[in-house]
């Protein structure tokens, strides 16, 4: 324990802590721009500078260790002046289009300028005339708004494990670049959207189709069907200042109807179909040693990763569509037919936590007869914007029900939201298959621990099925190597690109801090605990769907409908 004096008050800190950590633990705030708790500190932004007695210059709190008897001033005139000047410097060449910016009202630079009382332009500089990179289907990069904090670079390398971007050049020409300065779409970017979550400004933003949505919504002849994922249900609250983790399903239904959607669906029955399909795929392969383990492929960013970085794993993957694309396929096909809507008169929208779903929806494999299975993809953030756009006061709405036939009757599909959850749902079904009875305790605790690698096994006659759930591609990259080298003997592997699973997806509200994450996860697990239907195979709604479709899970027809195709993609990586 170290005692330090901050603003004339004594506080305690742990040895080896940085000043910033000590301050945060004691509830003292200093602004930061470049540091994020899960990333290595770089000391780049100098926003966190504080005055330390005996040092002739200000020191960055984020990387300076505490020392016994250190005397610190966090808000002296000198410190404030310095912080303000540095913000003014950033603003001096920043495009002055806050009003039009996606991050207006939720921008760390804007907030700093406000907090530090920047009221006039004292320094003006040349604008940086950078071009916007709109090549990617998920992410727009506007380098003119970039403050070069490097968070995206570190997230992409340290958390996503992709390293599609790095700092390029130096000095006044410093810029975030991909390899060979290619447009993002041609780079090794896997569209996971981790960088979107980390960016303090509007330099990285959703590639949005909000505006195009007006047309189908306004056209009386077009039926618009929307599906939203369970992750959206538990995170939308954050966008409206409602208690984090609140289950918003009923509200979302009424909001969507008010906006003008004709059919309002929830995605988790798609997840349960996926459970049925991949369980069958597993049974087909189990016992034949050639292709173990089976790798689940419902995370579109993970699919991108394998295609670009690890094509040697392609043969391990079950190319089952992701849950929303299963529903998407059904909406445009079976559902439209059932309701006698011509294909050119139905529009399908997805609201999701996932950035990569945008890229996924644009893939040719997800087009049937030149029509996309999902027309528009909105992130949770864009959904919130859509609600505001329509002037709906979310606080005054009544709960409503989801439309048939894609309702969230069971909880197995909802588990897909959290890392390990897809595996948990699948193991429940596999257990039943092998043992002829349900798992005694459907809660598979080891899959609910924190951490990027979670191992679990279930007992089956003559042995056990070993499973592992990996989240955060940083972890996956390691494991992927071991699998390729056949040094692991898992039978089934789940991989989620985003750390903690989809609940922390690239399309979620910003900031995505750990406390919020915990609350959302709790809501999901609670729903599972309280649910009467906890398995996919036991969900009559899902069975009913198969019945209506007229085929069985694992059949030739279901393969045609619910499987996709994945292939190696060559990029500079």
């Amino acid at each position: 324990m170290v005692r330090i004096e901050v603003n004339s008050r004594t506080i305690e800190a742990l040895k080896g802590q940085t000043i910033l950590e000590a301050l945060i633990n004691n509830g003292i705030q200093v602004p930061t721009l470049c540091s994020l708790p899960e990333l290595s500190p770089t000391g780049a932004c100098r926003m966190c500078v504080v005055e330390v007695e005996g040092m002739d210059k200000l020191v960055p709190a984020c990387s300076f260790p505490v020392k016994e008897k250190m005397k610190i001033k966090t808000h002296s005139g000198r410190v404030l002046q310095a912080r303000k000047m540095n913000v003014e410097l950033l603003l001096s060449s920043h495009p002055d289009d806050c009003l039009y910016c996606e991050r207006n009202g939720n921008c760390e630079l804007q907030k700093l300028a406000e907090d530090l009382n920047v009221r006039s332009r004292n320094i003006s500089g040349e604008r940086r005339g950078y071009k916007i990179d709109g090549s990617s289907s998920s992410i727009i990069r506007d380098p003119s708004k970039c403050i070069l904090c490097g968070r995206c670079v570190r997230i992409c390398e340290e958390i996503a494990g992709v390293a599609a971007i790095d700092f390029g050049r130096r000095g006044d020409r410093l810029k975030i670049v991909t390899a060979m300065n290619e447009p993002l779409d041609f780079s090794s970017c896997i569209d996971c959207g981790m960088c979107l979550l980390s960016c303090p400004t509007g330099a990285l933003a959703d590639k949005t189709s909000l505006q195009e949505l007006d047309r189908p919504l306004d056209d009386p002849a077009t039926k618009v069907a929307v599906q939203y994922t369970p992750e959206v249900v538990v995170s939308l609250a954050d966008e409206f200042g409602i208690r984090t983790g609140t289950d918003m399903q009923g509200i979302i239904n009424s909001v969507l109807r008010r906006i003008g959607f004709d059919y309002v669906f929830e995605t988790s029955s798609g997840a349960e179909i996926a459970v049925m399909e991949q369980s069958n795929a597993f049974l087909e392969r189990y016992g034949k040693n050639d292709h173990r383990p089976l790798i689940l492929s419902r995370c579109p960013a993970w699919v991108n990763y394998v295609e670009k970085f690890r094509p040697e794993l392609l043969s391990y993957m079950v190319p089952v569509r992701s849950p929303h694309q299963i529903i998407g396929r059904l909406i445009k096909g079976w559902f439209a037919e059932e309701n006698s809507i011509p294909v050119n008169r139905i529009c399908s929208v997805l609201i999701t936590n996932c950035s990569a779903a945008k890229h996924e929806a644009s893939r040719e494999e997800y087009y049937s007869d030149n029509v996309p299975d999902i027309d528009y993809v909105l992130t949770t953030r864009e959904f919130a914007r859509l609600i505001r756009l329509h002037g709906i006061n979310i606080h005054e709405l009544e709960h409503e029900d989801t439309d048939e036939p894609f309702q969230a009757k069971g909880s197995a599909g909802k588990l897909f939201s959290v890392a390990g959850g897809e595996l948990e749902a699948t193991l429940r079904t596999l257990y039943r298959h092998f043992n002829g009875k349900e798992l005694p305790d459907p809660r598979l605790g080891k899959l609910r621990k924190s951490g990027g690698i979670r191992e679990e096994s279930i007992v089956v006659p003559g042995g056990e099925i070993k499973a592992v759930a990996i989240s955060g591609l940083g972890n996956a990259a390691e494991i992927a190597k071991l699998i390729a080298d056949k040094e692991y003997n898992f039978d089934i592997i789940e991989v989620m690109a985003c750390g903690g699973g989809c609940i922390n997806g690239g399309g979620q509200p910003i900031p995505g801090d750990p406390e919020r994450l915990k609350a959302r996860i709790k809501t999901i697990y609670d729903a599972d605990k309280n649910s009467g239907i906890r398995t996919a195979h036991g969900n009559t709604a899902v069975n009913g769907l198969y019945d209506s479709l007229g085929f069985l899970p694992g059949s030739e027809e279901s393969r045609n409908k619910f499987f996709t195709h994945i292939k190696a993609v060559k990029v500079l990586k």
């Binding site: 260790p65 310095a82 000047m85 410097l89 950033l90 320094i123 500089g125 040349e126 790095d166 000095g171």
Partner: protein, 648 residues
């Protein structure tokens, strides 16, 4: 090269270390005399194998000399040396006839060779281009020829590190040893514990010559005391400040001196690996260091179990791919690790966690070159030169509009005015000294009235100046202070790594503003001018924040040229802003061009070539320049065949 590869002293190192200088056996003394060319039996002609000499044409001279010797079948050797430090007088050659002292000629060109050598071989000295002779008690001096150490340029210097530069053959290890080299290192590993070495260096008060002014001994002690399997000694030879070339001269003129310094330093901190990080453009230095390291290995001075002491050391070279900021020690380490050269926050300091997280000492070339002298002569000897706070000597590289340009080594505490006026002879003849700028791109402008300050860390600090690495730029009335500050700021904005906001954005803003005030903007009215001036004053506040919050020295010190010149040359800024006038006529957009009606023949060429259509008139009659439209590009003046265009 003389006796290269003969390795005459290779097996006699023990004898040298155990004996006492001056009392060696006759045989050994004879080798010493021959190797150090104290006594020679054949004529030797020395040419400069160093960068400034090469650029000035010494390679061509060498060709001419070789041809001369071959054609006439003359029994003579051609040897190579580093630079004497008189850059403005390169190329320099020197000739030593048997039994005579060595004489030096400056500014020699190919055509001079045959006449010069003809005369010399007839024992007459042509006077033209003669610089002087090297003092050598063993031989007859040439009559009426000054000794080098009597020339004003050399007489007031105090050469310790540069003593042999331009004199010895830099790659000959035998010559270095003959002149007492490697004795200090070999004695050190035989007789001193590492604590004793550190203590001696700390006691000597040696401070980092990169400008850091940090106590070298203190730094070593931290690294020595940090426990680790592997430690590293890194020699910082990045030296990419424009106008700094002392480290290069030390490496090109006497590389073994540096190697010896590195050896002692590595021993003192317990490092078995040393790395020289050198900028890749320094090809000659790289070649010489590589040769020197190879030789040292052959002599058992480097390698395994050196001199049976149990101490192992390897030195390797890393070629820096060009970035000024890589001179900063943490950026340098990042660069060695194969990363972008971005500085890291300190702490942790490299002495605790440096190269691959191991304790690493980074020292400048000049700092390390001091080490063998301090160990060889003792800390007391070292403290006798220089000031109490800054003992020893410092090398300065002088350039700009001075009379002499080149290398000056003086005691710390020497009067700046003396250096400028007496050693380098002030400004160019016919020009008036305006200021000197010391310390490289983040140095300060020192006005004539401050010229009496002593050159040492403490006096400079007191005045708000810095010594930096020791680059001195002499300015006269033909240099525009505003333009020069703009030049430095532009340099800094390009060289900043870009990591931290104050440095990246600050240098950019400052250079933008300076660019504006040296530019012709169509209608800068009084209000705009005041705005510009206000912005300039705002920059002083900005400079303070940059100093306070930038991560590394680059951003902290970058505003130095601006701050110091706003203090001492404010009126030049005001003239640029309010009068739109550059008194030195450097900022070309501020020039007013006019056509002399007497000289103009009305040929129309200027009007046709003016990109702004600012020249009007009718053919065969004098033309006029519309000054509102003129941007001062100067094309008209270049194209006029009748010299009718002038400016003021």
């Amino acid at each position: 090269m003389l006796n290269d590869g003969s390795d005459r002293l290779k097996d006699r190192l023990t004898e040298i270390v155990e004996g006492e200088p001056g009392k060696y056996s006759l045989g050994l003394q004879k080798i010493f005399d021959q190797e150090s060319k104290n006594r020679i039996d054949r004529t030797v002609i020395f040419t400069g194998a160093n960068t400034p000499g090469k650029i000035a044409g010494s390679n061509k001279l060498r060709g001419a000399i070789n041809r001369y010797i071959e054609d006439r079948k003359i029994d003579a050797d051609v040897a190579q040396t580093g630079t004497l430090g008189l850059y403005s007088e390169e190329p320099v050659i020197s000739i030593q006839l048997p039994g005579r002292t060595r004489v030096f000629y400056t500014c020699v060109n190919e055509d001079d060779i045959s006449m010069l050598l003809d005369d010399l071989f007839h024992h007459t000295l042509p006077e033209e281009k003669l610089l002087g002779q090297l003092r050598n008690e063993a031989h007859d001096p040439w009559p009426d020829v000054p000794f080098l150490d009597e020339l004003p340029f050399f007489a007031k210097q105090h050469r310790v590190l540069l003593k042999y530069s331009g004199i010895i053959d830099p790659v000959s290890i035998d010559e270095y040893i003959s002149r007492g080299g490697y004795r200090a290192f070999l004695l050190t590993i035989r007789n001193y514990t590492i604590d004793e070495v550190c203590a001696m260096i700390e006691e000597s008060g040696l401070r980092g010559r990169s400008g850091s002014a940090f106590l070298t001994g203190r730094k070593w002690i931290v690294a020595r005391e940090t426990a680790a399997e592997q430690k590293y000694m890194v020699c910082n030879a990045e030296e990419s400040d424009p106008g700094a070339f002392m480290d290069r001269a030390l490496m090109e003129g006497n590389p073994h001196q540096l190697i010896e310094g590195i050896c002692i330093a590595a021993y003192a901190i317990g490092a078995t690996k040393a790395i020289i990080y050198i900028r890749s453009e320094y090809r000659d230095s790289i070649f010489k260091l590589e040769t020197a390291i190879k030789k040292a290995h052959e002599y058992g001075i480097l390698g395994h179990n050196i001199f049976s002491s149990g101490f192992n050391l390897d030195i390797s070279l890393r070629k820096g791919p060009g970035a000024f900021v890589c001179g900063e020690e943490t950026a340098l380490i990042a660069s060695m690790e194969g990363k972008r050269g971005m500085p890291q926050s300190k702490p942790p300091y490299p002495t605790e966690r440096g190269y691959h997280n191991n304790p690493t000492v980074v020292n400048n070339v000049e700092t390390l070159c001091n080490i063998p002298h301090i160990i060889g002569n003792g800390p007391e000897w070292f403290k006798r030169t220089g000031t109490v706070y800054s003992p020893g000597t410092k090398i300065f590289s002088v350039s700009g509009r001075s009379w002499h340009k080149g290398l000056v080594e003086v005691q710390m505490g020497t009067d700046l005015g003396m250096l400028v006026n007496e050693i380098i002879g002030g400004s160019r003849r016919g020009h008036e000294l305006k200021a000197v700028h010391i310390g490289g791109p983040y140095g300060c402008m020192i006005p004539p009235q401050k010229m009496n300050i002593p050159i040492c860390f403490e006096a400079f600090k007191k005045e708000g100046f810095i010594l930096g690495a020791g680059g001195i730029l002499v300015l006269d009335e033909k240099t525009c202070i505003v333009d020069l500050v703009k030049y430095f700021m532009t340099f800094m904005k390009q060289q900043s790594c870009g990591k931290c906001i104050p440095c990246r954005e600050g240098t950019k803003r400052i250079s933008e503003l300076l660019d504006e005030i040296t530019r012709k903007t169509a209608d800068l009215d009084q209000h705009d001018a005041i705005e510009k001036f206000r912005a300039l004053v705002q920059l002083e506040k900005l400079a303070a924040v940059m100093l306070d919050t930038s991560l590394c020295g680059l951003g902290q010190l970058a505003p130095n040229p601006l701050r110091s010149s706003l203090k001492y040359f404010r009126e030049e800024f005001e003239e640029h802003i309010f009068d739109r006038n550059c008194r030195s006529n450097v900022c070309r957009e501020l020039r007013t061009y006019y056509i002399d009606v007497e000289l103009c023949t009305g040929c129309t060429i200027c009007a046709k070539r003016c990109p702004e259509n600012a020249i009007i008139g009718t053919e065969k009659h004098p033309f006029f320049i519309v000054s509102d439209k003129c941007t001062g590009c100067g094309i008209c003046r270049e194209v006029c065949k009748f010299s009718a265009v002038s400016y003021n």
